[in-house]
Every structure is written in C-alpha cells, then in structure tokens.
Symmetry: C2
Subunit: 223 residues, 2 copies
C-alpha cells in the first residue's frame, strides 16, 4: 500500500498543482476541502472534480463556520471584494485561515496515519498574507512536531509546500507538465455557480497574467 498524504485542495490552480505533484511523487492522496462559508461556492465543486480527475484515494469536505468569526471579504457579505490592485494585506485575507486549514489537515493526517501534508501556499503571489510565508510554515512545522500522538511517537507529520517559491507562471507550467487540466480549477473570488470567472478581481488578474507569462492558452471560462 503506498504511503498516505493529506492534500489541502481548494479547487484553485495552486492546490490542484500541489495534488498533481503529490500524486507524481507516488503518494496515496487524501484530499481535504473546507466549506467555510466562502462566497465562491464553485470552488468546492471544482475541488471535488479535481480530486476525481487526479485519482485521489478519497475526498473530504470539512465544514468550518468561519463566517461566525467574520473579518474577511471572503466570508463576510458586508465587506466588498475589491477589483485588482491595492497593497498591504488584502481584505480577502481570512484571519488565521491557513493555520486552521493546516490544523485540520494535521488532525486528519494523524487519523489516517499519513506521513505528509501537501499544501499549496505560495509566497510570491500572496506576499500580503502573513500565513503564506516560509517562516510561518517553518513555525507551524515546529508546532506540529509537538502537537500530535505521532509526534510523541517520534514520527511527526511533515508539511510540504512545494509551490512556496514558484511564480504563478511556474506553477502553471508545473501543473501542465503533469497533465493537469486547469479548466477544472476555479480561481475567481466571485465565480458563478458554474465556475465562470468575473475577470476583474485580484485572483482573476493573477491567473490571466500567469497563463500569459507561461505562454499557455488560458482555459478560464468567463461570465
């Protein structure tokens, strides 16, 4: 039986590429998505399709009521999702989101006896998010090395973030090389129910520029 990996899968390009990489490394991939009250529900459908398309051993959706906490344009209907541009930490930042997602993955990894967690964090395009930085991930690993039964037994779960230093174009080229169909992914913060993108938000701009820089055809469907 191949060793197990928990793969965080949002339905976007980065986590899909991450899943393709994990599979390519020979892991049996157990994908985990979150229903956290995000506006862009098409993400969840995309994640399910990607898990099937990329041969995940199983796919889980964990409900996590972040809207009860609020504080982000992605979960709070009172905060408007901005069009592209702006600097600093974006209003689409969800407080402690990656900490929460990695923590859930850690719990699942322990239950499944998985050796590794694959996460698609990326420090290049998300430089405004504190929890996408390499030093943050190193600190999470140090905490995880003390947090679990596996850790006490000397077999801590390893966190892999293979995209951390890649540009969007490099991520697209890596996924493309592994046969990933980016038409199955959804990036837009305001995608409609069929996964069609708005073409105007930050996420749409990054995605379009990424395909252009990679020199590949952009399979994104727009509204």
């Amino acid at each position: 039986m191949p060793a197990r990996a928990v793969v965080l899968l949002s339905g976007g390009m980065d986590s899909a590429t991450c899943l393709a990489l994990a599979r390519d490394q020979g892991w049996s991939c157990h994908t985990l998505s979150f229903d956290y009250g995000q506006r862009h529900r098409a993400e969840l459908a995309a994640a399910e399709g990607l898990a099937a398309s990329l041969g995940a051993a199983d796919h889980r959706v964990l409900r996590l009521d972040l809207a009860a906490i609020g504080g982000s344009a992605l979960t709070d209907p009172l905060i408007e999702v901005p069009e592209a541009g702006g600097s600093g930490i974006p209003v689409t930042y969800v407080p402690a989101r990656n900490t929460l997602f990695l923590s859930c993955a850690l719990g699942l990894a322990e239950v499944l006896d998985a050796d590794v967690i694959y996460a698609g964090m990326n420090a290049v395009d998300y430089s405004g998010y504190p929890d996408c930085r390499p030093e943050y991930l190193a600190a999470f690993q140090a905490m995880a090395d003390l947090a679990t039964r596996r850790a006490v037994e000397g077999r801590p779960v390893r966190i892999e973030a293979p995209l951390i230093d890649l540009s969007k174009a490099e991520i697209i080229l890596a996924g493309n090389a592994l046969g990933l169909d980016f038409g199955l992914t959804v990036s837009c913060y305001q995608a409609d129910d069929e996964g069609r993108a708005c073409g105007r938000c930050d996420a749409c701009s990054l995605r379009r520029a990424g395909f252009a820089a990679a020199g590949l055809e952009d399979p994104t469907r727009y509204q």
Copy 2:
C-alpha cells in the same frame, strides 16, 4: 473600554476557572465554544450558562465538524469511552484538537482585535495529551507570532494558559476563591442532557478526587 480577551470555554472546570481568572484580571472576555460533534452535548449548555454567569461580553459557538475526521472516542460513536484508568495517550484524545481550538481563537482574536487568548490547558491531569504540554504551547505561540495581520504589525496575540502547572485541586481552589459556581460546570464525557455525570469515566474520577483533595464539597450532580 477594557482590553479584550478571547477565552476558550468548554463548559468544564478548567476553562470556567480560566474565564474567572481572565475576568479577575480585568479583561473584557469574549468566550468561544466549539460544537465539534462531541458526545457530551451538555458541555455546550454549561458553557453558555458559565459565560452568562461570569459576565462574558459575548459568547460564540463555532461549528467544527471533527466527526468528519474521526479517530477519537469523543467524536466517533464506534470507539467506546473507557472507564477510569489506563495509561499513555487516552482514546478520548481528539487529534489536533487544541491546535484547532487555539487556531480558531487566534482568528477570532484578530477579528476582535483582542490582545490575548486564555486557554485552560493543564499539563498535570492531562499528561497523556501531547497538546497540553508547555513546550507545545510555546511552539504554538511562536507560530502565532508569525501567523496573523496583528503579528505582522508587531502586536502578536499572546496565549495565556494560567492553569498549565496546577493540579485539579489547585484549579478548584482558584475558581472557588473567585466565586465560581462549579455546579454550573460539566466534566463527564458521558453526561446526560441535563448535565448529570456518569461518575465512572476518567473525567469524573479526576473531578471527584479534585474536590476531595481541595477539601471542598463536590456540587456534581450524578445520573
């Protein structure tokens, strides 16, 4: 306006004492409980009553579907809750639970602009739980110091675990000195809907022994 604290409140004795201590320190206390599919639902009712009784500024219940992950007697109906005794990491250990709870508290602290999180972890009675150890909490703090917008701004959220080194009897005496009514707390892993305890599980044994050692009358209601 007094500065804000997020207080993790389970409905048990430790977190109730923690809330009493935080209030005594002058914090405006925002309590946070989790509906994580735990068997002992009476905990949640107890938490609500304690928040009101101890003057919390507000009380939130966050739904977190840990049963979707499984792996613990507290959330998995197929794993039996043991009677008192046994050694090592108990089957009532919920994988990565404290990491998840602290992560949610961290997100809420950021949204509320709270300076501190109070958590009732205790290394004495829960020595079998990897995520109740001081070294684990220090590692969580180091991670939190990099994880949030507040941290980037040089104002990281501080995690306080004032019970970490106290025995159950010392916790009871501390709560008692602050006027906490322990009759409002529920410890039993198998409490009935009215919060009456089984009297046989590990949690019941620890609680009973704690009151005896503290020399105080035990207000626990039994089934």
